[in-house]
């Protein structure tokens, strides 16, 4: 009797593990991320996308346009893990200094300048030869970011060198 009871208890425990395997993890893990962004930079944020490693494919995620100091609505997507993120700003524009000579003051090799010649002149020591650059495209920053699932509140801040970065809060 006692042995059969133990066996029954073991089977019941196993059955619980089996049946609840589809449920247990749901108590602890999220399968989507609800993302909200606060823009604390001096630039206008226009979007956050998940981008493939080779840059050929983009999945838009947060598509609000945020003035400095604003926060976005909440956007939910099935991104839990570590992904390549691109953040787009409209506050800067690409600046074609002259064909063949272009500024390179922005993070990640993007050619940025505020649309005034003074700023351009300040950064001119980092010029190099480059010919094909279009103007007025959004400024893009890229990098890996880990989304842990559930509600995520991201703050965009600006470094001293003008680049921005993401911070969870």
């Amino acid at each position: 009797m006692r042995t059969s009871f133990k066996l029954l208890a073991l089977v019941a425990m196993l059955a619980c593990c089996t049946v609840l395997s589809g449920c247990l993890s749901h108590w602890f893990t999220d399968t989507s991320t609800r993302l909200q962004i606060e823009n604390r930079t001096s630039h206008v944020f226009i979007g956050l996308d998940i981008i493939s490693e080779d840059g050929s494919s983009v999945i838009p995620w947060v598509q609000d346009s945020l003035e400095p100091g604003e926060r976005s609505r909440v956007f939910e997507a099935d991104f839990v893990g570590t992904f390549n993120v691109q953040i787009k700003y409209a506050g800067w524009e690409l600046y074609q200094y002259e064909c063949g000579v272009i500024l390179e003051g922005a993070p990640h090799g993007y050619v940025l300048a505020k649309s005034s010649n003074e700023v351009v002149a300040e950064n001119i020591d980092r010029k190099r030869e480059l010919c094909s650059v279009s103007t007025a495209d959004p400024v893009v920053q890229k990098g890996d970011f880990e989304f842990v699932g559930g509600s995520v509140y991201l703050v965009l801040t600006e470094n001293e060198d003008g680049s921005t970065h993401l911070q969870t809060k």
Binding site: C17, S21, G22, S56, D78, V80, F83, V148
Partner: protein, 406 residues
Amino acid sequence: MSFSRFVKIALLSIPLVAPTVMADAIDVETLAMGGFWTRDDQLRDIGDQLLYGKASFFDIGFIYTPVSTQIPLKSMYGEHEGFAFRHHIAGMSSYPLGDNSFMSAMLWFERSGWDGEDFLLFPQYTDFGLVRSVTTWGVAYTNADVNYSVALGMQHQNVEFVGKVFPHENDSLLYSWANLRFGRVSAQAQFHRTHFRMFRLALNLEDRAVFGGASSGLWTYMPNIDATFYKRELDGFDDDFVRVNWEQNLWAQRLYAEVSYDFPDDGFHSAALKFYPDPSRFFSIEMTCLRRRAVADDWDDLMFGWAVDLAILRIGYNAANEYDHLFHARGTWIAEIHFNIESLNDMLFAKKGRQAAPLETQQVKRKNTPDKGSSTMPLTAPAGESTKTITAKGIRYEKAGNEGGK
């Protein structure tokens, strides 16, 4: 990593050890190729079962990976957390038609893929999941007199859901298959519509007690060899290959060596040393070595792993079987809760068992225990004496003239 996330992971990691959460990600191409190996696995199983001809068989199981970071998915966007899954159920049932002829019906079903949540029946279908099922069914006729089987059936691959990151594939594939066995020689073929896809020739020369053969001796050391020709296309080009498996009994149908080799180009695929404490194969311990290679990157290495099978639970770490059949998952402990049993005549054994499970032949004998049912015992007395009846408890009666006391 935030504190709440740490707590979540720590709680879920209790049953497993640290390497669990540090596994390598599986990639989308391997996951998309999974159906090919599932279909092959099911047909290989069916071929094995038809060797037993008139047996009945049942098999159920699922992979259990409790942590979402255990087998992440690597896509072009990054690394997604979630669950690789593989659930299967299979059965074969045989009925006698006449004295020596049998009809069998068989159904193999597997649902596998990757999803954001783990589940038993209802997937979450997250944007980057892939849920695929493969069903193989068929009927077989076995003649035990001449010892041959003929089997025919169909195989369906259905894609329930394909996420954004996977290569496009047909949502429904229909195959047909046939299996012909004469004695210990089997031939199996698979077709997609009218196109030939696979042909397998298997020689199971090893003698098995469950077939009525020997349980020891020279014939049990004969090899089991199969060669499979696969018609395959990769990136629109023909990539046909032949895989040869050799299974060899090394000691008393308890220790086996297995080698798998790919012709013409790929060469050595895997090798394993498997120990079955009992030839009925409910329990096993295996050590495996698998060759991983990426031709394009000119990269090649050997992966060593092991697995323990405890009748209802299999735990493996980098084992070749898990690598091959769970989308190249490695670097993590993989538990499979499963059970399979096969019955043939009055014998019970596990999948591909060589001898009946010993529980069949054990007889429990009571020694020196009084038989309670016969406390009232009529005694036949020698001629001339009257018949007596003695009612007694706990007293041993010895009849005069016998050597009693036993």
